[in-house]
Symmetry: C2
Subunit: 214 residues, 2 copies
C-alpha cells in the first residue's frame, strides 16, 4: 500500500514525542525511586528512550522536517494522557511504565507491519525494549507478594491506564486525517481497527497477569 | 605515583554520581524549557550524561564494586550543592549547567593527569562535551543582549555557583581521607592544590566572559 508522506511524518512525530515524554516521565520517576540502584536503573531507561528519540529525529531531519514540527500536533494528547495518569507513588509509576510502554510497542509494531522501508525498520528499532519489563516485573512482584491491598489498588490502576490511553488515541485520530486514513487502509477497514483494539486489550490483560495483577 | 584502589573507587564514584545528578538536573530543566526544540536539546544532553554514567558503572562493575556503593558517600554533598543552587528560571538553569559542568570538567581533567591507565582515559572520555556549551552560550547571549538587569542578576548567580561548589568540594575532601591523600600527592602538596584552585577560578572567570557575564 502507499503511505502518504504527511501520514508518515505524523506517525514518526507522534512516536518521537512519545519517546520524549517517556524520557521525561522516567526521569521524574527516577527521583522517587526508593534506592540509588533503582534510581540509576530508571535513569538508564530514560537515557535509552533518548537514544530512540535521536533515531527518529535523524530520520525526520533527513526528510527535511524538524522533529519539533513533527511532534507539535501530538503534544496535547500525550500530555493529557500523562496528566490524567500521573502516578501517586513508585509502584504506580512502575506499573504505568510497564503497561503503557507495552501498549505503545504493540500498537506501533502492528503499524510497522504496513509501513514501507526504511521507516518500517526504523519503527521496529525504536521499539526495542529499554529494560523496563524485567525491572518492573521484579519490583512489582516483590511489592504485591506481601500486600493484597496494594495488589488490588494496582490492578484498578492498570485497567484505568488502558482506558485513558484509548481515549487520548481517539482524540488524536479524530484530529489527524492523514493518520486516520493510514490506519484505515493499513488495517483493511474500520473492522480491522476493531480487531487491532481487541488484540491490544488482550495483550494488556496478558501483561497485567505477568505483573500478578490479573 | 601509586593511586590506592580506595581513592580510585571514590573518585569514579563521585564522578558517577555527578553524572547521575547532572542527568537529573538536565531532565528537570528540560521541563521548563521555553520551546519544544530546547526541551529536546536538554533531554539529549541528559541522555549523553547517562551514556557517561554507563561507562563508569561498567568499569566499577569490572572492579567488583557496584556503582551505587561507590556513589553513596557523595550523595549528600552533591545533593547539597544542587539544593543550594536550585535555579529559579530557565536562564539560571542554563548558566548553572554551563559553569557547573565547566568547573567539573576542569577539575577532573586535572586529576586525570595523574591517574594510572585505563582510568585516566576513562575519566577523559566521560568528560567529553555533551553539547551544553554551544547551546548555553547561544541562549544566554540572546537573553542578556536585550536586558542589562538580567545580565547583572546572572553575573551574581555565576559567582555564587563557584563559591557553593568549592564549599561542597571541601566537605567531601574533609570526609574522604583516601581521596584527600590522592589529591595532595597528585598535585604535589597543599600548595599544588592552591594552584589548582586558582586555575579553576581563572577558567570560571573566562567562562563567565564567554557568556557575556564578566
Amino acid at each position: 500500500m502507499t503511505v502518504s508522506r504527511a501520514a508518515l511524518v505524523d506517525l514518526l512525530g507522534a512516536l518521537a514525542y512519545g519517546e520524549l515524554s517517556a524520557f521525561d516521565r522516567l526521569a521524574e520517576d527516577a527521583r522517587t525511586a526508593p534506592t540509588l540502584a533503582s534510581r540509576a536503573a530508571l535513569a538508564k531507561m530514560a537515557g535509552a528512550e533518548i537514544g530512540h528519540f535521536r533515531l527518529l529525529e535523524e530520520y525526520l531531519t533527513g526528510e527535511g522536517v524538524p522533529v519539533e514540527q513533527a511532534m507539535a500536533p501530538f503534544v496535547k494528547a500525550l500530555d493529557g494522557y500523562h496528566a490524567s495518569t500521573a502516578p501517586h507513588d513508585w509502584l504506580e509509576a512502575l506499573v504505568k511504565v510497564y503497561l503503557g510502554d507495552g501498549l505503545a510497542v504493540d500498537f506501533y509494531r502492528a503499524v510497522a507491519g504496513f509501513l514501507p522501508e526504511p521507516s518500517g525498520s526504523l519503527v521496529r528499532q525504536v521499539l526495542a525494549d529499554t529494560g523496563h519489563s524485567a525491572f518492573a516485573e521484579r519490583e512489582v512482584a516483590a511489592a504485591i507478594a506481601e500486600n493484597r491491598q496494594v495488589r488490588d489498588r494496582l490492578a484498578l490502576w492498570g485497567r484505568r491506564l488502558l482506558a485513558d490511553a484509548i481515549t487520548q488515541a481517539q482524540y488524536v485520530v479524530a484530529e489527524r486525517e492523514d493518520l486516520a486514513e493510514l490506519f484505515v487502509s493499513g488495517f483493511g477497514d474500520l473492522s480491522g481497527i476493531a480487531v487491532l483494539f481487541k488484540q491490544l486489550q488482550k495483550q494488556h490483560s496478558r501483561r497485567m497477569s505477568a505483573l500478578g495483577l490479573a
